[in-house]
């Protein structure tokens, strides 16, 4: 049992208070997942910089690791807007750099260092504990942008720490992030196949494979909708899964409709969440909220 939520505005001209809406939705879903909480936020800026969110350590980061990461990244591009919050280091670098190169340079500093997200629009913030805590620590409610997805986690199979929390970034150029409620039962089989192709896995969390799967599909030229169609064939188990890119958000529900997922669409926005309680902050809009069906796929694109 987890809680997932998504909020997508249909206009990118004006930045909307997506952080605030997402925090309210996640707070309502906290009872479904008290272990950890996280958000993937997409801004509307058109700068050429990429924002990096880097996990320095699992507990208290050391000065040496922080300095090491900054020194290494400086070899590629001079980092700006450097801030640290808890175990996170956030900075901006030249947006033309390839994620694979950036990741390998940064993560070579220490085995616990992980690039949690990288993108011109995307920023992922996640940690153990309640949704309220990520708001207190990272001021998520102040974030203005075009869309966001979020997750509250109740771990059933893998450990509870920052890296195993969701959303998962797909480590690709498309700024893909996913949140997932359910179990992928052919995870080990798929993971073996991917590892033979030298794809690195950061966690033992089955949901991570969905991010890898979507990124592979899209880098092979499939549209988001086509990837989600293919996922119905290739992924086994129960899944209500939300996927976002720099300009789109979509969901897929497994063929047996094992897991809940409700959605509502207006002319201005789309809201998706595990339970109706999460739509309360939007309730003044008199929404028509509907449970997604088995095999149902929806994609919204700006």
């Amino acid at each position: 049992m987890c809680g997932i939520a998504g909020y997508f505005t249909k206009s990118t001209d004006v930045a909307a208070p997506v952080g605030e809406v997402m925090m309210e939705m996640l707070t309502a879903l906290e009872c479904r997942g008290p272990d950890s909480a996280g958000v993937a936020l997409y801004n509307t800026s058109s700068t050429n910089d990429s924002i990096l969110q880097i996990k320095l350590s699992d507990d208290k980061p050391t000065r040496a690791v922080l300095d090491g990461v900054i020194a290494n990244i400086s070899q590629l591009s001079k980092p700006t807007a450097i801030t640290t919050t808890g175990v996170y280091l956030r900075l901006a670098i030249d947006g033309s750099l390839d994620p694979a190169t950036v990741i390998s340079v940064i993560e070579s500093v220490d085995s616990r260092v992980e690039v949690v997200s990288m993108g011109k629009r995307l920023e992922i913030i996640k940690q153990t504990g309640s949704p309220k805590r990520i708001d207190v620590d990272f001021h998520v409610s102040d974030f203005q942008g075009s869309h966001a997805i979020g997750h509250t986690r109740m771990s059933t199979e893998s450990q509870v720490d920052l890296s195993h929390s969701q959303p998962f970034w797909a480590h690709s150029l498309d700024e893909i992030a996913i949140v997932h409620n359910g179990h992928i039962t052919n995870y080990h089989k798929l993971r073996r196949q991917y590892e033979q192709q030298n794809i690195h896995f950061y966690t033992e969390n089955d949901s991570e494979i969905i991010a890898v799967y979507v990124a592979r599909g899209m880098s092979n030229g499939l549209s988001l909708e086509e990837v989600l169609e293919a996922a119905l064939v290739d992924l086994d188990g129960s899944f209500s899964c939300l996927v976002s890119t720099a300009s789109a958000m979509g969901f897929v529900k497994d063929p047996f409709a094992h897991k809940p997922l409700l959605f509502s669409e207006t002319d201005e926005f789309v809201a998706v969440a595990t339970e109706e309680i999460a739509f309360r902050p939007l309730i003044e809009n008199d929404l028509n909220i509907r449970e997604a069906g088995a095999r149902e796929i929806r994609v919204w694109q700006n």
Binding site: L262, E275, I289, R290, G293, A294, R295
Partner: protein
């Protein structure tokens, strides 16, 4: 009519207040239900409860005799194992609406999710919109009237539940078959819809002549080694 506001109250407190009203036959309007779970479960008595908004999971579960009206949507497991009474949702219902009911009537005035009426034993379910995947699964008795479309695997592995569908059937479940509708069925459909739905809604719905009737083909009722193919597919 008594009034009750859910804000600041636990589910146990809300349900205790509702039960007090119902036990003496008093009607109660419940404000700000906030899509919370387990509202109005195990109500014994004949009063009427109106939720002025959406409810969460298992609303009206295990109830016997009351009437529940929901002016909003309902989450999963609506009216689960209801013994008798009426549950009316003015919006949509989530998965497993009317699961395992033994009696009473559930009316969904919108769409209902997957496994609507799963394992129902008796009673009546009316959905004015469409129903989701595998509705009627393992239904043992009672009737289900779907005015709109039915999603895949309708009526899979049923015993004696009868499903009527006014719209399209995406595909039938294992051992579900379409049979001819009888005059008696037509009269039942017209009477049921008239009894349980407002007049304003009736004119947009199919009448008794336009429904398809889905029942069990009874091939899975008893194991037959010579019919292994049927079993292989069903299992």
């Amino acid at each position: 009519m008594a009034k009750l506001n859910c804000n600041g109250q636990t589910i146990r407190e809300i349900n205790s207040s509702i039960r007090k009203c119902i036990s003496v036959g008093e009607s109660v309007a419940v404000e700000s239900p906030g899509a919370r779970h387990n509202l109005g479960v195990a109500l014994l008595g004949s009063g009427e409860v109106t939720f002025q908004g959406s409810v969460g999971y298992y609303c009206g579960g295990l109830m016997d005799g009351a009437t529940i009206r929901i002016r909003g949507n309902a989450g999963w497991g609506l009216a689960e194992s209801m013994l008798d009474g009426q549950v009316i949702v003015e919006g949509n219902a989530g998965n497993s609406a009317g699961a395992a009911i033994r009696g009473g009537t559930l009316v969904v005035q919108g769409d209902s999710g997957a496994r609507t009426g799963v394992s129902m034993k008796n009673g009546l379910i009316i959905v004015t919109g469409s129903c989701g995947y595998m509705s009627g699964f393992m239904g043992q008795g009672g009737k289900m009237i779907i005015c709109g479309d039915a999603a895949e695997a309708l009526g899979d592995s049923m015993y004696e539940t009868v499903c009527f569908v006014g719209g399209k059937i995406a595909d039938l479940g294992n051992d579900a078959i379409v049979v001819d509708i009888t005059n008696e069925d037509r009269a039942f459909l017209d009477a049921s819809l008239r009894k349980h739905l407002p007049n304003t809604m009736l004119k947009n719905l199919p009448n008794g002549d336009n429904f398809k009737k889905v029942v069990s083909g009874k091939k899975l009722w008893n194991f037959d080694k010579s019919d292994w193919k049927t079993w292989e597919q069903a299992l």
